[in-house]
Assembly symmetry: C2
Homo-oligomer: 207 residues x 2
DNA sequence: AGTGACATTAATCATCTGATTAAATCAACT
DNA sequence: AGTTGATTTAATCAGATGATTAATGTCACT
């Protein structure tokens, strides 16, 4: 039996279509992409995408889940890791996001669109029930605040980390266009931020 | 002559359609809104929107320009104001964005989509030719850096201000949903940030 | 009341788009 | 070579959508 060839072939084109769909959906959003765009981008026929993935919507859901996983899947573990200190968590978060976003710069805008157009119920499932305030991360932060006699909501810390790290990627096209900055220069700035943001965060929370 | 009544009537419905379009476009994006959505949201007939604004595209351009103006129009003046100190500029920027975004929370995602889907040429016109590095703001920052024997790209400062201020609004639906936070609580957090962000920025740039 | 200009509507058109179908191609095995 | 099952394609369908048109309504002025 050489289904292997068939399967290999099949998985190959299925995979190629999915990759094409990922590129198109991530850059143009759900409403903005036509099934024909995906067909063209993948190099295959229009009917193929419905043959492999029953519908445009099903295909989108797959891409959506993968992107959501990429954006928030890994960090829950980091936030709840008992073995790392608060400072280490900050380093990890920033490093994870910068590295991931340099490879997938379209993810933030994709996620933001998702969140703005979909019923929040959808995210409950993916995100799990944990609120940021219930994480080890938040507990460690609250302890530190107590020592320094400060009171800042843990959400501020979390928002600050994510904002400083993610927003420059989301707004990259605008900043590049407006400041005549090349892709290489921009990447250089992002690499600088990978070092700077943890330092910044630490002094911010130390006021 | 009582064109007044006609004009008043006309401007009223034209205005109402534009407001409806603003709401729909801002929340669903260009591809995601159907002309029929705008008609329904405005309470008027489908044909009316083409009667007043030749096409969906023309109408979108109007909304787009207004939103762009809201998002970046006012800040160029702030950045180039010779009469204010760097610290005052930071305060002004944060205050402007927080106040504006509490009224128009959909603007950031709208702008980010725009920037990701459109040719950069479009923005040249709206943004004017000024790069951030050429502003009084950047000059003042460089001077301060020189005094403190530090070297940080002015763009980092600008990105930090905008990131810390704008991103929490863009990601509000996700954060609210994930943390079970009400609109009032979230607004409260944003008001706190209006005070905190300038302080944070100042210690960050003082390391 | 009649006229003219603008405002509004319902009905219709042409095109786009997601999906389906039926036929053709291909690879593996007998 | 023939059979079988999976893959791929071209052609087509049905519904959605942006736009247009022709008819009707409204209002000020004569």
């Amino acid at each position: 039996m050489n289904d292997k060839d068939n399967i290999a072939k099949s998985e190959s084109t299925e995979q190629k279509i999915k990759e094409a769909a990922r590129r198109v959906f991530t850059s143009k959003g759900y409403a903005g992409t036509r099934t024909r765009d995906i067909a063209e981008e993948s190099g295959y026929n229009l009917a193929l995408i419905n043959y492999y993935f029953r519908s445009k919507e099903k295909l989108f859901e797959i891409i959506m889940m993968e992107n959501l996983q990429l954006f928030i899947g890994s960090i829950i573990g980091m936030l709840n890791n008992e073995a790392t200190s608060l400072d280490e968590k900050i380093d990890q978060l920033v490093t994870y996001y910068v590295d991931m976003l340099m490879v997938n710069p379209g993810i933030p805008v994709f996620i933001l669109n998702l969140v703005n157009n979909n019923p929040s119920a959808l995210f409950e499932g993916v995100l799990g029930g944990n609120t940021v305030s219930d994480t080890v991360f938040a507990t460690q932060f609250k302890e530190q605040m107590k020592k320094k006699k400060l009171t800042i909501h843990p959400l501020h810390l979390f928002m600050n980390i994510v904002s400083l790290t993610v927003f420059p990627f989301a707004s990259a096209p605008m900043i590049k266009a407006k400041n005549g900055i090349s892709d290489e220069e921009y990447n250089q700035l992002m690499l600088e931020r990978k070092i700077l943001i943890p330092k910044w965060i630490k002094v911010m929370m130390d006021m």
